[in-house]
């Protein structure tokens, strides 16, 4: 996977709660056999009119946020469908980190596996960051995974929590499957015991 250590960028404010994965990438664009190429369709319904032209007032269609690597969003971001197309689209758009008061569980995990760091901070902090993000080109945020800290444009430092396994995977760009397979002996031991304990479960069909 793609590693993440640190990002410094302006941040696009998206002050909406419960942004679901159908909003992040409408299902019609999810009919694809590839992981890449979804960036142009990210937030399609918010970003474009039905004829495909851009809605000029939408934050990601405006400077400097067109190039933002950080998104500051509302609560329960990424709810709904489990489609990994959502983080694929966000990453392809250019995002490396998303800051929100809370994330939906499946989406949260999907982010790490695609080089995106989701940062949970208290709602009041996010509201404040949202305001600073709105100030534009000079409002640069820094997010550092090593030290688990976000530094806001006004210089305030906000520490955030990440579980250690996910942190390590992201910092090192670890191949999670390779790592699991390296410990295959443990899986074999488990399976041997399990087949004795629950023989009916080990036989599908």
């Amino acid at each position: 996977m793609e590693p993440f250590v640190r990002v410094a960028s302006v941040a696009a404010p998206l002050p909406i709660d419960n942004v679901d994965t159908d909003v992040i990438i409408p299902a019609e664009f999810g009919v694809t056999m590839e992981r890449g190429g979804l960036g142009p369709h990210a937030f399609n319904g918010l970003r474009r009119f039905p004829d495909g032209s851009e809605r000029p007032d939408f934050v990601l269609n405006r400077e400097p946020w067109r190039h933002a690597k950080i998104l500051v969003a509302g609560a329960n971001f990424g709810c709904g469908s489990s489609r990994e197309h959502a983080p694929w689209a966000l990453r392809d758009f250019g995002f490396r980190a998303i800051v929100a008061p809370s994330f939906a569980d499946i989406f949260y995990g999907n982010c790490f596996r695609n080089g995106i760091l989701p940062v949970r901070l208290p709602a009041a902090v996010v509201t404040d960051l949202m305001e600073q993000a709105g100030q534009g080109a000079n409002a640069v945020f820094t997010i550092d995974l090593e030290s688990q800290a976000l530094v806001a444009p006004d210089g305030t430092r906000h520490d955030f929590a990440v579980d250690p396994w996910r942190r390590r995977c992201l910092l090192e760009g670890l191949d999670e499957i390779g790592a699991t397979l390296a410990g295959a002996a443990a899986i074999e031991r488990f399976e041997a015991g399990y087949a004795r304990r629950r023989p009916w479960a080990a036989r599908a069909g």
Binding site: N18, D20, E28, V31, E84, G183, R203
Partner: protein, 463 residues
């Protein structure tokens, strides 16, 4: 020590506890479908990885399949064919398109007895929580995890918190499991279950039939929870016995012996306990763009300005703008032009029976296009054997082939922009049923009633 249903199943599957607090969890069953799997298979192929236990997966196309008897559009056909080719290449059993057992993953899995109590079950689809109805630990995963499961038969997981929702009260005739599910979501909120595994318990749940339990667990994800579970009991065992892939003979004896031990022990502790009373519950209709935005059919569209919580107020404003609804509108004044009876939430035989009971001898209102999409080939044939297809067709409903259809609107079935749909599916998100489509979630009987009346009506007046 008193232990919960969730903990019993979780603990039974821990391969390894890691120093960082994560767990390597063994996965018993994996359902694979057409929409979220191609990238997983390509990555496995690129890395030269194989399926660890191919028979622990079961592949079936559902999201992209056409349901009107016509051929799939070329780009869909390619992806459907890829699922079958990928499954064969990796040795994974597949129920091919056109086979009598094909259907929606979450309908087919239980139907085949592939999903059983006490097992861990995953699928690249958030409504995998459906299978929790059997006392399985079942949750949706992303495509990278699909790849991880196929290659290793495990997933790296962190233990969720646990919540028990105890449901009491007997809703009257015409009030369905779907209404109970919507009421539960409304009571805890669209993100109320975040980070939690939910166990549903209480007399109402105990009295529910298996298919009603599936509807309830299916909707769990709409409350943000990772999974929803119900302890297996006699209802569960009766439903499973004799299914093609369920254990039989001595295996059945051993399995049921284990399943009987799974219920949460008296005194088991949960991180959160919620009680919901559904006596007097009325049929629900959603008015907004998340499933928690629901009200009784006898009620009215709420006024956002009267909502105290700023976040909920803002969300309600957005919802009414998208849904093109004015505050105070009676729900019975809302006129859907489309009706969809289908999806993994409500397309099993009992759902179709409930809808047919309303449709029998009546006619779909002028200007309404109504379609019934059975959840699987087996459901479709069972319905036809009872004559439900005739009832629907004579009433003016379209009778379709099985698939996800208008629940996800990527297979050719969709609600046109600006139109309003009474839908038995699980999500009323913006654009979910097609760009600009407006979705109102209801039970199957309520959907049929809306088709007949041309507006939402209290189905209790029609039964």
């Amino acid at each position: 020590m008193a232990t919960t249903l969730f903990s019993k199943v979780w603990d039974d599957h821990v391969v390894e506890e890691r120093p960082d607090g994560s767990v390597l969890l063994y996965i018993d069953r994996h359902l694979v479908h057409d929409a979220t799997s191609p990238q997983a298979f390509s990555a496995l192929r690129a890395e030269g990885r194989r399926a660890r236990h191919p028979a622990a997966s079961l592949a079936v196309a559902d999201h992209l399949v056409p349901t009107d008897g016509r051929a799939a559009a070329p780009r869909l056909a390619v992806q459907i064919a890829a699922l079958e080719a990928n499954a064969r290449e990796f040795g994974i059993p597949v129920l091919p398109l056109g086979s009598p057992t094909q259907g929606i993953v979450h309908v087919v899995g239980p139907e085949q007895g592939f999903v059983l109590p006490g097992l861990t079950v995953v699928c690249g689809d958030s409504h995998t929580s459906t299978h929790g109805a059997f006392g399985a630990l079942a949750f949706g995963i992303g495509t990278s995890e699909v790849e991880h499961v196929i290659a290793t038969q495990t997933l790296v997981q962190t233990r969720p918190r646990e919540m028990r929702i105890t449901i009491a009260g007997r809703p009257g005739p015409g009030v369905a499991a779907k209404d109970v599910a919507l009421a539960v979501i409304a009571s805890i909120g669209a993100a109320g279950g975040a980070g939690h595994a939910i166990e549903y318990a209480g007399p109402t749940v105990a009295a529910m039939a298996m298919e009603e339990r599936m509807t309830l667990c299916n909707m769990t994800i709409e409350a943000g929870a990772r999974t929803g579970m119900i302890a297996p009991d006699a209802t569960t065992l009766d439903w499973l016995e004799g299914r093609p892939m369920a254990p039989s003979g001595a295996d059945w004896q051993a399995a049921t012996g284990h399943w009987r031990t799974l219920a949460s022990d008296p005194g088991a502790r949960f991180d959160r306990e919620v009680a919901v009373d559904v006596s007097g519950l009325e049929p629900q209709v959603t008015w907004g763009i998340n499933p928690a935005q629901t009200v009784a059919v006898t009620g009215r569209v709420p006024d956002p300005e009267a909502i105290a919580d700023a976040g909920l107020r803002q969300a309600a404003r957005r919802a009414l703008a998208y849904m093109d609804l004015a505050p105070g509108t009676a729900m019975t004044a809302i006129r859907p032009s489309r009706v969809f009876i289908g999806s993994c939430t409500n397309a099993r035989l009992s759902d179709l029976r409930a809808a047919a009971a309303v449709a029998r001898g009546r006619r779909v209102a002028d200007g309404v296009i109504a379609q019934v999409v059975p959840g699987s080939g087996l459901v479709r044939r069972a319905a036809e054997a009872e004559g439900l297809d005739r009832i629907f067709i004579e009433a003016g409903f379209q009778w379709h082939e099985p698939g996800c259809s208008m629940c996800v609107a990527i297979n050719g079935d969709r609600v046109p922009a600006g139109e309003r749909c009474a839908s038995t599916s699980n999500r009323n998100f913006e654009g979910r049923q097609g760009p600009g489509a407006r979705t109102h979630l209801v039970s199957p009987a309520m959907a049929a009633a809306a088709a007949i009346a041309g507006r939402f009506v209290d189905v209790r007046e029609m039964i």
